[in-house]
Symmetry: D2
Subunit: 345 residues, 4 copies
């Protein structure tokens, strides 16, 4: 950590800063420049993070050197992590193909969609039983009945399942039915919920918040990791943008940027990132080309009747077409795709 | 609601859209233009909101006319609401002066800060017992011990208190100690939590999320209102911006923009909006000048020892100076400030 | 165009709006709903665009139906355009490979870089002679001497050249040396300059501004097209974002979103979009996967000595590696790449 | 400047960096920490700015200490500057009241508007003769005829005038008619134009670009200042935001943030910042409360007939009302307002 002092800093102020650094068991290294004086801090930087040095008179700014996320960081774990969801590998060269409807609506519809995406090559089934809806008057999901449908449908088609949990009081319930938890973008900094899923030992799909930096996302992953659950998969699903042409702004560079800092797998969700069916296929390919460890796409067999987010779902035949292209691109890039029936590949 | 059709729409597609509209008990009004054909929908628009018309072939876009927030809307309640927190009025010409430390750290410190802000003219005391921290390694708050300190300090100084609740399982606990709940920016779309505080009958301070539009904020308020709790105060505390010069981007225009749509009071929080002590006083005045119903400022008597957000707190003497200016400006604008001792004013 | 009236609109106000519409030679079609009354306007919508209807009392909002860019629009020109730069085709299935240093620094360096990128498969050479620098104290470019070096180097290596023009007074000068004009992001709405290059008959590479929507970009293209120059190639090079992890936010979805509205080719510039050499290759591939008609990459043989933007340049060997991957991906997607020597392909 | 080295940096790489620093005539000060090694650079930091140190292998990041804008900086000029426009003072406690139509449309209309705003207390008259319009089909302004109308109207009503210049070839022409140049937001980084107005000795109103940071704005001011023209007034007029509720996002905190770095006056333009007549008065007051040195408001006597930006103009009576409130607030804050007739106040 480097402490930059103000031009008008006084000697007693410098003394005060140094004493404060040393009182924390660290060493201070003073360096007087032509224009500015700085103090380098030597020792365990994390001790300083709780101490608000910027508030000390004479301090202009404090520049941290080490990342505040330790367990999520590449420095702690130089090899890419592989997260395994009931036999489906994600990361470290393994590409996940997650598909399914936004919301679980009925056993029949779920069965039809699952059959279609399985045939098209998906290896993980998604579906929401508890829906975070902007409006209290919008469809809120089927609850536990939906979870049962999801689990049964997944078993029938040999597809592990992933579903969102929103309420810390329901983590235990959802845990009984799902193979992977999803934490939605709006809950990325719901630290209560992160702590709760961190105490399970089940994989977590953590979606990036709409105004979260990559480092914020890693800090939220750190909440889960620091509870002892190392099975975290990140997901880029668009950030808030200024252009109304798409629902959100798909930040494809976040995929390699995250990998430059962390060992955790990161997938892309072009459905939520764009909100436009015509933009989903090109953005799915872009995500894979940029190095994503998986693609999450919403599929519905009758979007105009969907109870949630119909307009952004692909039809099963559209999904089959893009899944084919993703597989070709994955082959070109040397990526493998887990198949559940045969164990792997 | 207006349904705009694509240039290449076919007659059967138009028929299909009209049937769908009529199947919902609404009337469709077809209008063929030189370039485009549109369908006006007559009847209760909210029925259409659950039906994803954009997904129907031939439909180009759907333009809503009525706001999706009813209870929060000006149309439902044309007069500004006044929310009363244990005798302190907010809204409808009454200005709230909320002050206190970011986190409750000890009874002694809380007492000193409360005495100072009371003397300076604050009429509501804030302090966090449960802290939403980006890092799992940062100080997380004193919990119930902190709540007790807050309540006792508030009683001693005749200041009603407001504190954040993050976990729906703790709403009942926090309810026993506080006069007003705070929902933090990161939890603005934690719908589970909104529903829970909506079921109490205690005032709620709802902070705007960093990437929330004004309408998103009103939709979140609607969650609370629709549970039967009408005591909601909104808070503008900065949105995510691109300029690193301040922590967030203080959206002062959101104050009058919200008032143009809603009867709910809205206050400003220049501490979180800027994160810079030198910007807090000018932004506090700007908020009041723009019509805010209150000002929320973090105050600490030793920022460099604060366990949370020290660098953005004002010293008690700085708070006293800005409180004086706020009172002068309030007088100029004809605003009143509740004083708890004397009941009102 | 649809004119939505306010709930409290009066009959005389409705009359006034209708008269105004009819005074412009258009027909008004009144439709009274349960909650709102609207007026559909039938006829040439562009006549209405100059008339500020929102300012008329009783009008709530005006919803346009037709795009304001005509020549750039897909509706005017349903087939993708192919722009040809001295034999190198861009668009309609042809992929441009543009490479070169940020600034032209000397004939020797330019020659070495050109030889390297030509060998790696580039088919257009870039280099700046006039540099738009944020600081007046930064290197501003070699001027006409640089233009000569660029032209001569391009001829020697059979690479058509593209260079930025910033000053309308220098369009004629630059025209003598270059095969394609570049308009930089900061000048995307320098309408004086757009008009000037619109009056030449030379291809223009128009970069998207940092806060420009896709529609703003098309409106700027329209300035060039409406002067009679139809040879416009668009370029996505990142928009302003909130995450300091990269210089800008690479908006890869803008590629298919632009194609959904316009026939103009659009390329990507991952160098400026990210500002980080390690993010350039994955973002280049992402752009091609999303359907871009070309890739623009800065290459320098000694980035630490570069006079401008050194840190974001690839080394020649890094460029060769990514160019190889781009060709493989282009082959997978069925794209062709012009080679100047053999005329095409 | 501080150079932070990578954890895996080698000794020869450290040597290389030190040599490079010393080759520029600076001193390097090596400091080895527990985790990271840093090099402090002592001497004239501006020499290093042209050298891209981030591109040297082993370098993780480079942290500048001094601002790159020298002439605009507070450090160079600790007292606030007062810019005088034909007798009207701006800055250093003097508040400018700039008003007028978006575009000059006719001598009669200009005269009526000027008479009204003069009566309401405006002390500078604005009006555009050359309009930067997003669409090539929109009204582009009256040109030199408009300039004549503006000058004559200003003289008649004893109001100095300000008008936009867009084309560097017309700086000389505009100079003959105006008392102050305006550089629009879209041209904030049109360095050619900045250099040109920098070579005149007439005050310049420099508007902040929609994606410009405060430091970018100061760097653009530096272009003008470094040409020898010290008469620069900055203007906050909204940045690009994500909420469609207003045209732009009024960044009121930019006013005190700019003042913390620079001696230059800064005014606010709530008309362009919000684009909504109902938001202009509260945002005008907010700007003054935050410390702005002036308020720029568009006024039109018949917005529905305005040829440009009609919907965002205030009516003369609305302007008179807000001007009255601004004067009251200015008095409260101890600000003075120049009146041209009497010289000063």
């Amino acid at each position: 950590m480097i402490i930059v002092l103000k031009p008008e800093v006084t000697e007693p102020q410098i003394e005060h800063v140094i004493q404060r650094v040393e009182s924390l068991g660290l060493r201070a290294h003073l360096s007087r420049g032509t224009y500015r004086t700085i103090i380098g801090v030597i020792g365990d930087e994390s001790k300083l993070r709780v101490a608000p040095l910027e508030a000390i008179p004479g301090v202009a700014s404090v520049v941290p050197i080490l990342p505040p996320y330790k367990l999520a960081s590449n420095e702690a774990h130089p090899e890419p992590s592989v997260v395994e969801v009931a036999g489906v590998k994600i990361g470290g060269g393994w590409l996940a193909m997650i598909a399914g409807p936004c919301a679980i609506e009925s056993a029949e519809r779920m069965d039809a969609i699952a059959a279609a995406v399985k045939k098209a090559g998906a290896n993980l089934l998604r579906g929401g039983a508890f829906k975070p809806r902007t409006s209290p008057y919008a469809y809120q999901g089927m609850g536990e009945d939906g979870l049962k449908i999801l689990r049964d449908t997944g078993r029938k088609h040999a597809l592990p399942v992933v579903t969102e949990v929103m309420d810390p009081r329901r983590v235990e319930l959802v845990d009984q039915y799902t193979d992977m938890f999803q934490i939605g973008a709006r809950n990325m900094q719901n630290f209560t919920l992160l702590t709760e899923v961190g105490q399970t030992r089940k994989p977590v799909l953590l979606k990036r918040g709409l105004s979260a930096t990559v480092k914020d996302l890693l800090m939220s992953a750190e909440y889960i990791l620091s509870e002892g659950n190392s099975q975290v998969v990140l997901c880029e699903r668009g950030v808030k943008g200024f252009d109304p042409i798409a629902r959100n702004l798909f930040d494809v560079a976040a995929v390699p940027a995250t990998k430059s800092l962390s060992h955790l797998p990161i997938i892309v969700d072009p459905s939520h990132a764009t909100g436009r069916p015509d933009l989903i296929p090109p953005c799915a390919l872009a995500g894979v080309a940029a190095g994503a460890d998986g693609v999450h796409i919403e599929v519905h067999n009758c979007p105009e009747e969907a109870l949630s987010d119909g307009p952004q779902a692909l039809l099963p035949e559209q999904y089959a077409a893009i899944a084919r292209q993703i597989r070709q691109l994955a082959a070109l890039l040397g990526k493998k795709i887990s198949s559940v029936n045969s164990g792997n590949q």
